[in-house]
Structures are given as C-alpha cells and as structure tokens.
C-alpha cells in the first residue's frame, strides 16, 4: 500500500476493534505501551482471530510509532478518536485547559482591529475552532468527573479505602471543580464565558453592519457558534454546580463521618483519645424535680437515722420429697423370682421390705411393671383380695406373672 486511505483505517479499526481497545487501555494514561506488553497482546490476539495482526501492520496504519526507548506511542489522532469511541476520556488539569484557551482573547482582539477581509475570515474560522475544541473538552471533563464521582459514591472496589475516597473527593473539588468553575464563571472578566459574551455582543451587530456580504455571512457563523456554545456551557455548568459539586461534597462528608466513627470504635476503651466529648443526653429523671445538690444533702441527712438495720423474718419451708421405688431394681427382683403367682401381693410384700409407709403412688409405680412388654400376666379367677395401704384400701385380683420367652 502506497497511500493510506481513510477507508483502510476504518476497516482496520473494525476488524481489530477488541485488540485496539486492549492496546488503548494498557497504554493509559500517557498512551505509551511497553513493547513486551504490545507483543504479548498481539500474540494472544492472533491465537483466535483472523486476519492476524503484526507490529508492522500497526505501524503501516499509523496506529503507533516506536520511541527511542523501544516502547510504542499511540498516534494522537487515534487517541482522540478512541477516547470518543470508548467514551473514556483522560482528565486534563484545568490549568492546561486555561492555557489552551487563552488564544481566544488574542484572536478576538486581533479580529476587532483587522481591516483586511481575507484575514478577518481566517480569524473568525480560528475562533470558531477554538470554541469548538473548548466545548468538546469541557464536555469530556464533566462526563469523566461525573462517572468517576458516581463510582466514588457507590464505594466501588478501588475506593473501598476510606481515606483514599476522602482524599480523592477533596482533590477533585480543589483541583478540578473549583478551577473549572472559574474558567466558566459568568461574572469574571477573564473567564472563557465572558469572552463568549463579548464576542456575542460584537458579532450580533457586525452580522448586519459588516462591509461586505461575505463578511456578514462569516460574522453570522461566529454569532451562531457563540450562542450555541453559551447554551452548551450553561448545561455543563449546571452539571458541575448542581450535580457534581453536591455529589463530591456528599462523598467528602460521608467519608468524614465514617472515619470519625472509625476512630471512635478503635478508641472505645480510651475515650480520652476522642478529643471531642461524646454526646451526653440525660437519663430519665422524671419524678425527682429537685435540684441535685439538695437531693444529695437530704439523703445525707436522712441517712443518719438509718443506723438500725431492719429485722427480716423468713419462714422456712420444708419440702417433702416422697421416695418412689426404682422400677428397674424391682423388675430385676421380679425376674429373679422366675415366676410370681400373686403379683399384687408380691409387690406389697417386696415394698414392705424397703418401707413401712406404702402409699398408693408407691404401690402403683411398682404394679406398673405389669405393662412391660417382656412380662406376661395371666389371671383366671374372679377372686379379689383386700390390701390396706397407708392412704387407701384396694381390692386386687390374683395375677400370675412370668417372663416372656423370646422367640
């Protein structure tokens, strides 16, 4: 290829969009990319993409050029276009911006004194260009600041460190927002904005009274450009003052609260380190609507009569715990007997060996053994016998009990 065509460049960008984006990202913020990284990117890209890319191809399309240090610098024209494509702009310091637009004042002074039509036309075209680039820059700056501030606000990963967030917010306010505000400040005679106002005044008249039809047309163009620029700037200014500034102030004050709380929690055992007293709302004091000093004096006075300790009587309660037979123990006894012909009588007699006071509950807790699965109870006669317990007399049948033989 002898001459590079626009179509060829666009085709290159379209074919290798992902590669270009990677290279662009790696080269930020100075748009210089290390030769090793670039070679690695090419290698990785070529594994899965067709047509392939090479260093010489990149140089052919003027995407980058090699520096004496062997690293590669991306072509400025590409950088501007790619920033626009990826909506990813670098922040310029406002000082840089300011220097860049000083020319507008010089151009405008020259325009006012110029008499030659051809020179006037060139001056007007230059002013329109400066305004255009300026608008573009301001727009980029505002967008970039807004998106960065949003990520600061939502505590994105890289800003999870509190002090970093605070630092960043303060830095942006001091280094960007304030100076940008100054450049755009309406009342300030040296601000870009007031230059626009001046130009608008001058051209609104000139577009009617200029010497020639051609000049009238040129002044009209400039007038249009300035009116448009003012509207654009108003919008940007609004974003700066109404959105960005409060947002950053908010990030700043939120981070301050969190860092204050951090110090508080860290020094919880050393309140003297707070340097600020903790709020001290009072406790509930209702019902003692008297002056505190009087209260303590009165207490002291009353206390002297309190030398006699009062007598307190406690009624002792004796808790009666009834002994209940241990069913496991008695079951063992029962099984040792092999077979019991009169179960209820056996219960009574066995209990008798342990206690004289056979109550109903003691008796029943033993007779409950009858319900055990491994015991068989048989009773055939209707004969009933009376047993006298301590708290009751009961009629009992004659029941034969023996161990069930396991199957």
């Amino acid at each position: 290829m002898i001459k590079l065509s626009g179509k060829y460049i666009l085709k290159f960008l379209q074919n290798h969009y992902e590669f270009v984006q990677d290279a662009f990202n790696y080269s930020k913020p100075d748009f210089i990319i290390d030769i090793d990284i670039l070679e690695k990117l090419i290698e990785e890209y070529n594994i899965s993409n067709e047509p392939k890319i090479s260093l010489s191809k990149l140089i052919d399309v003027k995407f980058c050029r090699q520096l004496p240090t062997k690293d590669f610098k991306i072509n400025r024209s590409y950088v501007d276009f790619l920033q626009f494509l990826f909506d990813d702009f670098t922040l310029d310091l406002p000082q840089t911006l300011k220097e860049r637009y000083k020319t507008i004042f010089e151009l405008f002074s020259a325009l006012k004194t110029e008499t030659k039509t051809s020179k006037t036309t060139i001056l007007i075209q230059n002013i329109i260009n400066v305004i255009d680039v300026f608008l573009n820059d301001i727009h980029r700056q505002t967008q970039r600041l807004l998106s960065d501030t949003e990520s600061l606000k939502v505590n994105a990963d890289e800003y999870s460190d509190l002090s970093k967030r605070l630092e960043k917010a303060v830095f942006w306010i001091d280094e960007y927002i304030e100076p940008l505000n100054k450049i755009l400040e309406k009342g300030h005679p040296e601000s870009f904005y007031s230059a626009l106002v001046e130009i608008q005044k001058y051209t609104s008249e000139k577009q009617y009274i200029a010497n020639s039809f051609k000049l009238k047309r040129e002044y009209k163009k400039l007038y249009g450009a300035v009116v448009y620029a003012r509207a654009e700037l108003d919008q940007n200014l609004q974003k700066l003052t109404r959105e960005l500034r409060p947002l950053l102030d908010r990030v700043k004050s939120d981070s301050i609260i969190l860092s204050g709380f951090y110090h508080f929690v860290e020094n919880i055992d050393y309140p003297e380190n707070y340097a600020v007293p903790i709020p001290s709302p009072i406790k509930k004091t209702k019902g003692s609507a008297i002056f505190k000093e009087f209260h303590s004096e009165a207490e002291f006075f009353v206390d002297q009569f309190n030398y006699k300790t009062s007598d307190v009587y406690y009624e002792e309660q004796i808790e009666e715990l009834e002994w209940l037979p241990d069913s496991t123990y008695f079951k063992e006894q029962l099984l040792n007997e092999n077979k019991v012909d009169d179960f209820y009588l056996w219960c009574f007699n066995t209990l008798k060996k342990h206690t004289d006071e056979i109550t109903l509950s003691k008796f029943f807790s033993l007779t409950n053994l009858l319900l055990e699965d491994d015991l068989v109870a048989e009773y055939k006669t209707d004969e009933r016998k009376i047993i006298d317990l301590k708290d009751a007399s009961i009629k009992i049948p004659k029941v034969k009990v023996y161990e069930r033989i396991p199957k």
């Binding site: 609260i257 969190l258 110090h263 309140p271 600020v276 709020p279 001290s280 406790k283 509930k284 505190k292």
Partner: protein
C-alpha cells in the same frame, strides 16, 4: 408570677424523661421560640444544658456518664460501617430508610466488630431498641425500625472527631516538616 406556655408541662416532662423533642412537633417550635427562657429554666432548676439543634432539642449534662449513649454511638458506627461495606449509601439508609430488626441484628452479628458490641447493651438487641425508642431516637413499627432526625447528633459527633484527627495529623506534618 410569669406566664408559661400551655405546652410547658409537656415540654418539661418529656425533656426530663431524657427524650429528644423533634421537629415538626409543636413542642419543638415552642422551645425554639422561647429558647432563652427555657435555657435559663433548665440551667437554674436542674443544672442541665438545653441543646437546640436545627431539627431537635434535648437536655444534656456534663455529669452524666452514660454507658448507654456510648453503646448507641457504637451501634450506629458499626451499622454505618457494615452498610458502607455492603455498597449501600449508609447515610441515606439511616436518615431515610427503615430496617428489619432481625436482618439488622444478623448484619451486626456477622461483623468483625460484633465482639465489641456483644459486651454492650446492644447484645440484647430488641431491648436495646426499645430503650432508644423511649428517648425518641428510634421509631419501632412491627418488625421494623427507623431512626429519627435526632440521629444526626451522632453524625455530628463523628464529624467532629474526624476533624480533630485531621487537625492533629496536619499539626504533626507541620512539626515534622
């Protein structure tokens, strides 16, 4: 004998109850209107300091050394930290949002700072919330709670600490320079 406003009894008894009186309560506007009178009244009668902020008023005393206030500040500090860590805007959430009691307790218990909180009154969370509802710092509604505007007092406290720390840091840097 001087004239007292009709709200006098209510104002005095609420404030002496240790409650915050919060705008838009009519009591708050009355206190604002009679700022000087009430200031003197509470100082002379009880040796208490009447604090009137932009949106709330309360009594304070230098002699009060309330562990519970320390606990509340701890609770707020750690809640703010956890909300911030989970990517939420803690100030919006605390000033405007409402919190589920159980979820909030879980959030705090999962925090690495719970070891501090569990040694305070915050450990019995529902009881803790009820205590501060009694002071008008919290509004309870079923299984949810909200902070009232009085919570800003504790944010101001945090800002003051941070600013003091910043000052200390600048002084140190200046001495070292």
């Amino acid at each position: 004998m001087r004239e007292y406003p009709s709200e006098h009894n209510k104002i005095v008894s609420e404030l002496l109850d240790g409650k915050f009186i919060i705008s838009p309560s009519p009591l708050f506007y009355k206190i604002q209107e009679l700022e000087d009178d009430y200031f003197e009244f509470f100082t002379k009668s009880f040796n208490y300091n009447l604090n009137i902020e932009a949106e709330f008023a309360y009594l304070s005393s230098d002699e009060v050394n309330e562990k519970r206030t320390r606990d509340f500040t701890l609770f707020l500090a750690i809640l703010s930290r956890e909300l911030d860590y989970s990517g939420k805007n803690f100030r919006d959430k605390i000033e405007l949002g409402s919190f589920d009691i159980n979820e909030t307790e879980q959030l705090l218990r999962q925090s690495s700072k719970w070891e501090i909180l569990e040694k305070t009154t915050v450990s019995e969370f529902e009881k803790f919330l009820k205590t501060w509802r009694g002071k008008n710092l919290i509004v309870l509604d079923g299984n949810k709670f909200k902070f009232t505007k009085a919570v800003k007092l504790f944010f101001t406290f945090a800002i003051e600490i941070a600013e003091e720390k910043l000052k200390e840091k600048t002084n140190e840097e200046n001495t070292n320079a």
